[in-house]
Symmetry: C2
Subunit: 597 residues, 2 copies
């Protein structure tokens, strides 16, 4: 019953018209990213998402994954076929260097199509998603032999990957981790311990599973300084690249979760499993952060993706369901009632989500482009500038897009009335699936703390000042442009709130760190509001310019202008509230004794 | 693993100290409501909730209800025993007149203990909850024979009740309903049609089920003016009160829902079932509204109840889980990490929920007391004043307490990190259960519309002006009280925003009703913020007075003052945002064509 159509026209508008991706054709892999090529790739991904991935989304949720007594795991019907189609299209390696079997195209394009595939089937896309994270870590930290051994098979999708961080007593605070690694004397290690919440930990879709596992080498320092990263393949890979004996790692249980039932979230037991050190001893966290930062963008993208598909279904229902009459007189007098999309409160819901999705998509692609520049530019200054903004944007993107993505799935569900609560209509799944994105890859409170506690002051605040400058400059450049005034005025007001709050932290959180923690979540959302506002201002500018130049997408572009105004009028003012909350500080939070709760 | 402790001390503080329930001992049933009696009743309800209802809450969710091919329904293990214990305690009829087997105590007390029982087991409590709604409708609209036939058994809990409104094509817009009633010529009717989403529609806990069914008598006017209400018992009741033949109403399916799995939400098929008209022909909606208004308070109470139990569990987890160190230096240096309740962002979460729960409880009891006065006072003016405020408060209570109750269940779940997503920890159930309260008994958008479109202008705005006056007077009375300034200043600011927004509707929504619809949800929440702020100001005043008088509950009362300040500093400022959104009007909402979504 649910519907899905990948928002290709919107992606193309953002990439070509708003971000001007063609300007970057000097970067490796970008020369091929012409408007025609982008259109072709996005359309192909849309087709795959709509016709292959989406049809097994609801059934996958209902069926879930099943573990047999021997620890093997069966994925839902049709998942393997859909996964194979995804691999055959070469999607896993879209942005991976060609020498390892990838296509070497921009990561930005990978992110663009990643929205479609995650919207169509979030649970299924987590299997290759984890592989992509593992590929990124091996690419950066693996030695040549490791790269040659693992990457081509992973890019092909014949082998998948996982991330093993969490243990029952240790999630955010990895310094507490206990999984141990004992040297075998031949360069390999015996890995022993229990990991939990391991997405795609065990399944029946690939020949091998390449686990990346954080563990502590015997005698290593306590805390986070004694953690190393290991490759622990499900099947040991022989010298000729073929699969050898079964390693001593087994799925002990599948977690019984609220959502993403199609993904096998496993308890993984390592019992003297053979592991290979990746990167330097005791530097495991560095290597893991490579995966994690990319994974955080991927999770932010999931928030956006679910918001988009939930929105599309709410729109379809709001146009179809007739109930009551418009407050301003019947709109469908030939029917017994009007479609509920005539009601302002339904429109408030839809416009709220729409204005978020379109700006969220722009913000996601803007960030992905920074990642490409940071990794591919030949200009050191350009790389650094991009990396600064990428680092700053990552926690905002992850935290805001998943918090709001979930809220919007809930709002979209509300449009359905009672039917929204019934599983068959599909909205419950979106809500249940979206919920995890606020939690994993660093719960959103941790993203907020990363932003306020690390990213803000990093390099003397270089990144945040660059962001303020970019937004301020945009407002300044359009100062004399009357048509842009409704957008730049609201944006400037939001930026002022953000700058004032930043200043408040500078003045009040150094001596009293609790003030930073108390305002961190508000600050993350304040920053998100401004970034999305900036995206709307940029999109409005592009839309105005294109309309003036006679572009034929008039309805599309005019809708952008209306939606931008909605955002500025109704959403952007939230910056003032966030600022007030931040400035209220930590006193009333920290005053009560724990027993008073 | 989840925990629950009924907040008895808080209930007693509100009833005795803040609302001064003893002042109303001239009302029927109130003479017995001495502080000692209230304490005894609340404590007894707490015991039942904690020891009998709560232990089968999680298992009930996991097991769910099962329908057999013959249409019978099996409730989860232990539900029947827990239900029986609830009935034996006389809880169904706590506030029902003694002549029908009830105890005639205040409805306020019924609401107070209803929070405990709903928190402990929302699904299970819906069975007697629906009965209570049906009792209310029969009490007001039934004839003597109907009252004698049905009420004593329902009060005893031997028979249960249901509300049958919704049909597949018709929820909010009851004018569309098709279920028909054909006169048999002997005063009875043949009822035929399909009803959906019928809570407690069929189950194995009572000897009979008394369905209240909306249907259209053949030849009745179209729309809402042609709807009548019928009693359709599962088993026909014979003249001597014993049960006769099985009526032609059967459960066709159990809905597959996101939550409240322990409650049987049924598709009910009526196939020439025998029905008895209750109230006047074509006046069914009036009778149904009696049930619905009471049910809306009950649903608001569910929102509060789930927020409370979710909060208690988040607090327990936050005190127990160690992870990371306090920003201001280790707080539990003897442990490997500090309990996460030291982190300001966790405290932000907990204080946000706590400040809502305690004010929400006060608002709920304040409203319930208005209901008692409206129904029991001998003074017509007093009755009318109370009824005005009850009518005004009902949509706010339902909409705000369930929207926020759900948000808070989600926030509490977030405290658990990954464990929050795992069913065994119990937090997922609270989120899934709380979700329905935003939808049923009138989706919250409908509550907002009821508030703005009906309640605001009713009787020339008499109710809203009375509310403003009551709150304004409170601020005025405490004007020279320095210690109250932090509370009254913030409250006054919120009240100003509310009054300005009300004025904005007066000036802008008459000519353009879409402006009312566009701002309705914001207005409902704005009103809720002010009402909860008013409750906090009242509680702060009581706490200060009691402390000055040497009351021994010093920690308890001091925590009230801190929490009140938190609310005023961090939550109350949201009124300004709501006002801005309301004043932004409907233009950007209504501008796009439906195709542009």
């Amino acid at each position: 019953m649910p519907v899905f159509k990948a928002p290709v026209a919107d992606t193309l508008f953002i990439l070509n018209d708003v971000l001007g991706i063609e300007r970057y054709n000097n970067l490796p892999g970008f020369a091929d990213a012409t408007p025609e090529m982008i259109d072709a790739i996005a359309s192909e991904a849309a087709k795959l998402s709509e016709e292959v991935l989406f049809p097994v989304n609801y059934s996958g949720d209902q069926e879930g994954c099943v573990r047999a007594d021997d620890g093997t795991v069966k994925t839902p019907k049709g998942f393997k076929q859909a996964y194979d189609a995804y691999c055959e299209g070469g999607w896993i390696g879209l942005a991976v260097p060609e020498e390892f079997g990838g296509q070497g195209l921009p990561y930005t394009l990978h992110a663009a199509v990643g929205e479609y595939t995650s919207a169509a089937n979030m649970s299924l896309m987590m299997y290759p998603g984890l592989t992509q994270g593992a590929i990124a870590a091996i690419l950066v930290h693996g030695n040549d032999e490791q790269k040659q051994t693992y990457l081509p098979k992973m890019v092909e999708g014949k082998w998948s990957g996982t991330m093993n961080l969490t243990e029952p007593h240790c999630g955010t605070d990895l310094g507490l981790l206990r999984t141990k690694a004992v040297p075998n004397g031949d360069g390999t290690y015996k890995i022993s311990g229990q990991k939990i919440f391991i997405s795609a930990g065990e399944h029946d879709m690939t020949d091998n599973i390449v686990h990346l596992v954080l563990a502590r080498i015997e005698g290593a320092p306590a805390g986070t300084k004694g953690i190393s990263l290991f490759i622990v393949p499900k099947y040991i890979v022989k010298e000729d690249g073929s699969l050898g004996e079964r390693n001593k790692v087994v799925c002990g249980a599948i977690e019984h979760k609220m959502g993403i039932h199609g993904n096998a979230t496993c308890v993984m037991n390592y019992d003297e499993a053979t592991g290979y050190l990746i990167g330097a001893e005791n530097k495991g966290l560095n290597a893991m952060f490579v995966m994690m930062n990319e994974a955080r963008l991927g999770v932010g993208l999931q928030g956006l993706a679910i918001s988009e598909i939930a929105y599309q279904n709410a729109v379809a229902y709001a146009k179809d369901r007739i109930q009551g009459r418009s407050l301003s007189g019947p709109k469908a007098p030939e029917k017994a009632a009007d479609p509920i999309i005539v009601h302002p409160d339904i429109r408030r819901t839809l416009m709220t989500i729409k204005s978020f999705n379109e700006a969220g998509r722009a913000f996601m692609l803007w960030t992905a482009l920074k990642s490409d520049i940071a990794h591919r530019s030949s200009d050191a200054k350009e790389r650094q500038d991009a990396d600064d903004l990428l680092g700053l944007a990552t926690p905002i993107l992850k935290g805001v897009l998943t918090d709001k993505g979930f809220d919007h799935a809930v709002m979209a569900q509300q449009v359905y009335g009672g039917h929204g609560y019934i599983e068959e209509w599909g909205m419950s799944q979106y809500v249940r699936d979206a919920r995890i994105a606020m939690i994993y890859e660093g719960a959103n409170g941790i993203q907020a703390l990363d932003l306020v506690g690390r990213k803000l002051a990093l390099n003397g605040g270089r990144a945040v000042m660059a962001a303020f400058k970019e937004i301020g400059d945009f407002c300044e450049e359009n100062r004399s442009n009357e048509a842009m005034a409704p957008y730049t005025k609201a944006l400037k007001k939001g930026l002022n709130d953000l700058q004032a709050s930043t200043m408040w932290f500078m003045q009040n959180a150094m001596a009293k760190p609790d003030n930073a923690g108390a305002g961190s979540t508000d600050y993350m959302h304040l920053f998100g509001l401004v970034m999305l506002g900036y995206m709307w201002a940029k999109m409005a500018k592009s839309a105005q310019d294109l309309l003036a130049a006679g572009d034929e997408r008039t309805d599309f572009l005019n809708a952008k202008l209306v939606t931008a105004r909605f955002y500025m009028d109704k959403i952007m003012p939230e910056t003032a509230l966030r600022k007030v909350r931040i400035e209220a500080g930590s006193d009333t939070l920290m005053e009560l004794a724990a027993e008073a709760f």
